[in-house]
């Protein structure tokens, strides 16, 4: 199967489908580094992203949202499960077969200071994927890079500068330009704006939205800020301790949240309006997120949930569709 060379045939409209993805990291101890347990970073996650759609993945730190993103990019080899990207199951592909697939994937990471090589010029950083995948010759290399600079709103005059000469927002634009260099179909954005100043965040959100419309991109947008995720996403998946607890479209998530964790998460997000804020009832969760090395039995959320019964303590709730593509993993809904 030469999926990479030929344009892959997509039967249904989903660009990527993740089925029962599990990613466990071993905990080792002692001199022999014997395995004593697992960090269940991602524990049975399934979702689909359709073409031209943005799936927002929200959750608190340690819930496994970044690990999902890295599995999709195949930066990790998943413990089990399938990742079907453009018709090919990439979850078990060896490294030499996965590399050509990465032409169709882009990635933007959180820290624009750490993700750009400080010794390379902006031209080389942005054009690196073109060279790696041999997508541009000597003649059209500069033209392509200039195009990319214009696309992300950077002046091509700055092409020969090195990263420290750019501000945080401009660096994130460079990272976006690099992610788009191979004209990917899927871009994984892992907390792309959380390291930026408030007034710059909106610039990057708008840029991502515009580029999506122009290039017909599909995004997996990973972030912890619910109001940002909701703004950019078509659908939102809420993760808690390695599992997806609720998936629905962006409007419905706000107007009709069903999972108790989603409700708590929404009520914790501050709204910049004192009239709403000072009368709003807040659900303040008790306790802390349990360790993913030793998650609670049954529903992972039950120790902090007010609705929990014995059923929740024993049986793992599966995501079930309650209409309109709104899926929730809770017995009490």
């Amino acid at each position: 199967m030469k999926a990479a060379e030929d344009e892959p045939v997509i039967e249904d409209e989903s660009v990527i489908e993740v089925k029962n993805l599990k990613m466990y990291f071993p905990i080792t101890a002692g001199i022999l580094r014997r395995k004593v347990g697992d960090i269940k970073a991602v524990d049975d996650v399934s979702f689909k992203i359709r073409k031209n759609e943005t799936l927002g993945l929200v959750g608190e730190s340690g819930c496994g949202k970044t690990t999902v993103g890295r599995c999709i990019l195949r930066l990790y080899r998943p413990t089990s499960g399938n990742i079907i990207f453009m018709g090919t199951d990439i979850s078990r592909l060896p490294e030499d077969r996965i590399r050509p697939m990465r032409i169709h994937m882009g990635a933007v990471f959180q820290d624009p200071y750490g993700s750009l090589n400080p010794r390379q010029t902006a031209r080389n950083i942005v054009g690196k994927p073109l060279k790696t995948h041999k997508l541009a010759g000597m003649s059209d290399f500069s033209t392509r890079v200039t195009e990319l600079f214009n696309l992300v709103g950077l002046n091509p005059v700055m092409m020969n500068r090195v990263p420290h000469e750019f501000s945080g927002g401009q660096r994130q634009r460079l990272a976006i330009a690099r992610a788009l260099a191979c004209r990917p179909s899927l871009v994984v954005c892992d907390e792309p704006i959380s390291a930026l100043d408030v007034s710059i965040q909106a610039q990057i959100i708008n840029l991502l939205e515009e580029i999506q419309d122009v290039m017909g991109l599909t995004y997996l947008f990973i972030a912890h800020d619910l109001s940002v995720v909701q703004h950019i996403s078509t659908r939102v998946a809420v993760m808690y301790l390695g599992r997806i607890v609720e998936v629905t479209n962006a409007e419905e998530l706000y107007s009709n949240p069903l999972h108790p964790y989603t409700k708590a998460l929404l009520s914790a997000v501050p709204i910049p309006n004192p009239h709403i804020e000072q009368t709003r009832q807040r659900i303040v969760l008790k306790g802390e997120v349990p360790s993913p090395a030793n998650p609670p039995r049954g529903c992972h959320f039950h120790p902090r949930c007010e609705l929990a019964t014995t059923e929740c303590m024993e049986i793992k709730p599966e995501l079930r569709d309650i209409g309109n593509g709104h899926e929730v993993a809770c017995f009490k809904v």
Binding site: S199, I200, Q201, Y254, V269, P270, P272, P274, H275, V284
Partner: protein, 330 residues
């Protein structure tokens, strides 16, 4: 009602290799007893430096408090020797501070007990045993389970939210008159953020403490602050009751700030975000004109001709530093 702390015309400059950075350039603010105020601004606007200046925690050199007063209890804090007894009894005793990064602000090699009792022994002259009992009480107050056992743990054995609770316990241990919280929840998750903010509000109310929340998150202050100061490039550009700031923002920067943050419940179909163009200014060798001028969408030729405008009264407690007329902006 007389203000508890009154900061007048504070100026803190840093002398760097590239030139002088006017981190705080003439700000005045006050806080009343039992009041909660918010100081909002982006990174580098001088919000933290102004609070550190009041506490005399600015590293000198390179930093220097060039001018200004901080009147607290009838005395000017800035006249005290930074390392002298008088300043030390205020710092941590009467004015306490909570910092952003709860890992770095706790000493990793000392137990929680030692770090809590140190303040109690130093400021209140308690003996070690009494201090320990009080420390356990404080930990219970901030909601740390099994406080008797956990008190002998080290900071790395606590999660981020728990560490911030310890910091709050430490800050309120001497029953301060003012609590300064410098980005108290920025390093924390949203649900933990909600826990910590509610805890801080509850404890300050219980102890009759005034609270200064320094943050870049305008949503956080909307819930808690009664008055808000908006800072930009080392100066206060707008101040007023939080209703004034949110309902009737008069400075183009405040207006921009409110328009560029997505609100919960909004999607890209309902409202497009309007970003503030450009980027925050470099504080070295600033033009004498308004620092927001290059990014301002409401500028007129008067802004380019004249110096940075001082704060101008609008109504009630609402002040703004802008040449332009507010009504035109609406």
């Amino acid at each position: 009602m007389e203000a508890l702390l009154n900061v007048e015309n504070l100026k803190t400059y840093f002398n760097t290799y590239h030139g002088q950075v006017k981190a705080v350039d003439g700000i005045s603010l006050y806080i009343n007893p039992r009041e909660t105020i918010g100081i909002v601004g982006e990174s580098g606007c001088g919000k933290s430096v102004s609070m550190l200046s009041v506490m005399q925690l600015i590293p000198t050199p390179p930093g220097e408090i060039v001018d200004g007063k901080a009147i607290f209890d009838g005395n000017d804090l800035l006249e005290y020797d930074a390392k002298g007894d008088k300043m030390c009894s205020v710092r941590g005793g009467k004015i306490a501070m909570i910092f952003q990064e709860p890992m770095t602000s706790l000493n990793p090699v000392l137990t929680i007990c030692r770090q809590l009792t140190e303040t109690l022994e130093w400021h209140l002259g308690m003996d070690p045993h009494a201090a320990r009992l009080r420390a356990i009480e404080l930990l219970k107050l901030v909601g740390i389970p099994e406080a008797e056992k956990r008190i002998d743990a080290y900071p790395h054995q606590f999660s981020g939210g728990m560490r911030q609770r310890v910091m709050i316990a430490m800050a309120i241990s001497c029953n301060p008159e003012i609590l300064i919280a410098d980005e108290p929840t920025t390093a924390l998750d949203v649900t933990t953020q909600a826990q910590i903010m509610e805890l801080m509000k509850k404890t300050t109310e219980e102890f009759n403490t005034s609270l200064i929340i320094v943050t870049h998150n305008i949503g956080v202050v909307a819930r808690y602050a009664e008055r808000i100061y908006v800072m930009y490039a080392g100066r206060i550009v707008e101040s007023g009751l939080s209703y004034d700031i949110f309902d009737n923002p008069c400075h183009p920067y405040t207006i921009g700030l409110l328009k560029c943050v997505p609100q919960l419940g909004e999607t890209r179909n309902t409202r497009k975000l309007i970003p503030i163009t450009g980027m925050p200014p470099n504080l070295i060798d600033m033009e004498p004109t308004c620092a927001f001028l290059p990014r301002c969408t409401y500028k007129n030729e008067r802004c380019e001709r004249e110096l940075w405008p001082p704060l101008r009264h609008i109504d009630g407690k609402h002040y703004v530093a802008c040449h332009g007329d507010i009504r035109e902006k609406k």
